[in-house]
Point group: C2
Chain length 473, copies 2
């Protein structure tokens, strides 16, 4: 690196950061000013900053510039994730999930549990106005069932936005659903039979594990890194050992880690499923919630043969109550359409038209910019607060998008005990055991959702959580 | 019968009808006037009319009185239904269903295919106003997920109305869903595993057969009568022969026959499932659309041990686009709640609140009265038109509720050919083969939906259908 011009510049900036000239959270010189100062091209500076970004030393903030990455008070360390691929196993879904969900819908708790978007954005009011407008102007009742594919205006908008993720498809190649979870269910039912093995990342969002269990499938948990997501090497090994039927993953800002699979890995993943002729269900629900300027390409953007089924919804970007999602099912179009029909005959037109309107000219991009910037700041605050109030050995993931973080408590602390103690204090968290088919796993990890604004009582709640952990040690 | 007073009166009226004194469709003397004229008690007259009703000679019209039943030009005969119980078999779902559904959503066809409610009722405008009001006044966005059971105001209304069907349950014992089809899917997934045998009536609504197929289950088809629905004797025999896991039926105004299972049979059905300790899924979607004054009791009203799971929705009574249904799952509450959570996390609050409002004080009962009376008249018109335009050997069911009728074409006519020929003429019907797991069955039967007003072009379309059948003979 030292021999190239951009390598030299990158090294100089590293030196400046180490020397404390630029402190964590501080803005670095703009690309333009640095280019002028050093008399080198803009692209040389961009390459240098790109290297620093890859090394996790700096980060880009949309419409602002490059910043030194923040590190919590004790040095930030990502959680250590098990590197062992488990054997395929039936999922024993903890009743705990239902308990947490029931509590979540009660306003008496301060909740860090359910992965819901923040509720303080003006988009809520915009959506209400759009609903009122659609009800006045568009026929949504007395029109019989919609086409089995779903409402055309929504499919058109989804096709348009899919381009940002590198996917070229027509509205006819999209099927709308009652949400992302529902879309994934249709895919699993179309692609698998009882006893089949599904490869998932670990830790894995419990909603996916529950579906796997409900359909009588087995999960094989592929080790995942808090920064780069599912390990492609481990997945390759698993393919060699087991007759994997489907790969199911959240490659862009995974839940619960917040990991972003690098584009190169996404490409390798596609090669792998092509080699083994296996479909992949890509849960892209957080794909538009990255903290970078451009959204990352979807795995599906590398898919030339229609083996990737991309599922998403507006539950994380806008509002879960919309109940609107979709799937871009590639070569499995007909099977998915049929499964949708069986499951629900058809889904309602009203929310589909409202979402289409929102995506078309409802200021969706403006909302996304605001949400992404807010979530980035709220993540930083969470990392600071955990650093401040949790025992020193605590580790926390540093999501590059979405709004959930994974926290590994110090050795000896029990996440389940923390969950129970916190609930007594009126605070909800998700204990780590929910995120694995193997109930012995993640007994000292928790997931915290940081989408909501940091009010005094939420800050106080993090302090309480930290104290409850400390009390265990 | 002749020796009793009411038997004598009944016989006299039969004589008057035979003599043409009261013609088909004509109103008979009111109970009160006849009681005065004959100097007998009201209850004697009611019993006499009851006997005539049982014999299918007269019918009651709500708020009006007793009428001589209409008979088509050639004497009305209900379709002959196979009396043989088939062996359990895997369902081979015809692609035809998807074809019919795709066509149905296109306005270029005159459709008698999809079982959609009429669209000429003022309730559509009422619902729009209610939606607008709910959007203005009730929080439906930014509230996270609803409770896993669904919105409380809707559950309260459903519990209130369940009383009319003889069911006493609390709102806590109800789970809302995205529709009736969706509710039945949750029940099947909770109660069965691949390979299990499900008892259904035959002919059977194809949506149920498709779900059975999709979950890898087997259907055993129990002979059903066009007037009284599933044969309890045949079901008992099937129980003796096969390890039936679930009974799935539409006991009140079945689809496609329009049959109403007598209350006594409903009671026997409950005894049978208790004896064999098997759950029953009761599809009650047409239960409130009877042409009698009072809605019939649900099978669930006889269920003392929670084995009946009643599923319904507002798709037939109000509007399929509402996407709102529910299940009263009895002892299976926890499993169904869990299945709902897995399937969709939660369903949208907006349509649930709108439907709750409609049921509470939106004039739902007024709408039901209008719809039931309209459907009764439209059924009479269909029977007349089929009598007028179809070949003389044609038989048609005489539904006592709902809005679909089953037609048996003359020997030698092919329903599939009729479907194809009609489609060429821009007319959609449902061919009989869709209504059995055994594709050889019902090859000369069709289902016609009669919910829409009889416009000149719809009348013309029935004439065309009749001509197409005649051309085949």
């Amino acid at each position: 690196m030292e021999t190239t011009l951009y390598g030299k510049i990158a090294n100089q900036i590293i030196g400046q950061i180490r020397a404390g000239i630029f402190k964590p959270g501080e803005k670095l010189p703009s690309v333009r000013s640095l280019s002028r100062k050093r008399s080198v091209s803009i692209s040389t500076i961009l390459t240098a900053y790109g290297i620093l970004e890859d090394q996790g030393l700096v980060e880009v903030r949309p419409k602002s510039g490059y910043y030194v990455r923040r590190v919590p008070v004790h040095e930030h360390r990502p959680p250590a994730i098990s590197q062992r691929t488990s054997v395929p196993r039936k999922v024993a879904t903890p009743q705990r999930v239902m308990e947490v969900m029931r509590d979540s819908s009660s306003p008496q708790f301060i909740s860090f549990a359910a992965a819901l978007p923040g509720t303080d954005f003006p988009v809520i009011h915009q959506l209400k106005r759009i609903f009122a407008r659609v009800i006045r102007s568009a026929p949504f009742l007395g029109i019989g069932y919609d086409s089995p594919k779903g409402s055309e205006p929504l499919r058109r908008q989804v096709a348009r936005r899919a381009l940002d993720a590198g996917i070229l498809c027509s509205p006819e190649e999209i099927i709308t659903t009652a949400g992302c979870q529902s879309a994934i269910g249709l895919c699993l039912r179309a692609l698998t039979s009882a006893g089949d093995i599904i490869a998932v990342e670990t830790p894995c969002y419990y909603g996916l594990l529950q579906q796997i269990e409900a359909y009588g499938l087995k999960a094989i948990e592929i080790p995942s890194d808090a920064e780069r997501g599912m390990s492609i090497d481990a997945l390759r090994l698993a393919f060699e050992q087991w007759p994997i039927k489907v790969v199911l993953s959240i490659p862009s800002y995974s839940n619960p880690l917040g990991a972003l699979m690098p584009s190169q890995h996404k490409q390798q993943l596609v090669s792998l499923i092509e080699q083994y002729d296996v479909p992949m269900i890509e849960d892209d629900i957080y794909g538009e919630l990255g903290y970078q300027d451009r959204r990352p390409p979807a795995v599906k953007s590398f898919d030339r043969h229609g083996r990737v089924l991309l599922c998403s919804s507006t539950s994380k970007t806008l509002e879960p109550q919309l109940g609107v999602g979709w799937v871009i099912p590639g070569r499995y179009q007909e099977q998915i359409e049929y499964q949708k029909f069986i499951n629900s005959v058809s889904i309602s037109r009203l929310p589909q038209l409202a979402v289409a309107e929102m995506l078309d000219h409802g200021g969706y991009d403006r909302h996304l910019r605001l949400a992404r910037e807010s979530y980035r700041q709220r993540r930083d605050r969470l990392i600071d607060l955990v650093g401040q109030y949790f025992p020193g050995e605590t580790r926390i993931s540093r999501p590059q998008g979405g709004f959930v973080a994974w926290i590994q408590l110090p050795r000896g602390a029990s996440a389940l005990q923390l969950y129970l103690d916190a609930r007594e204090e009126g605070i909800l968290i998700s204990p780590g055991e929910l995120f694995s088919a193997n109930s012995g796993k993640y007994q000292s990890s928790i997931r915290l959702t940081y989408s909501d604004a940091w009010t005094a009582s939420r800050i106080e709640a993090v302090k309480t959580l930290g104290e409850l952990v400390a009390r265990q040690l």
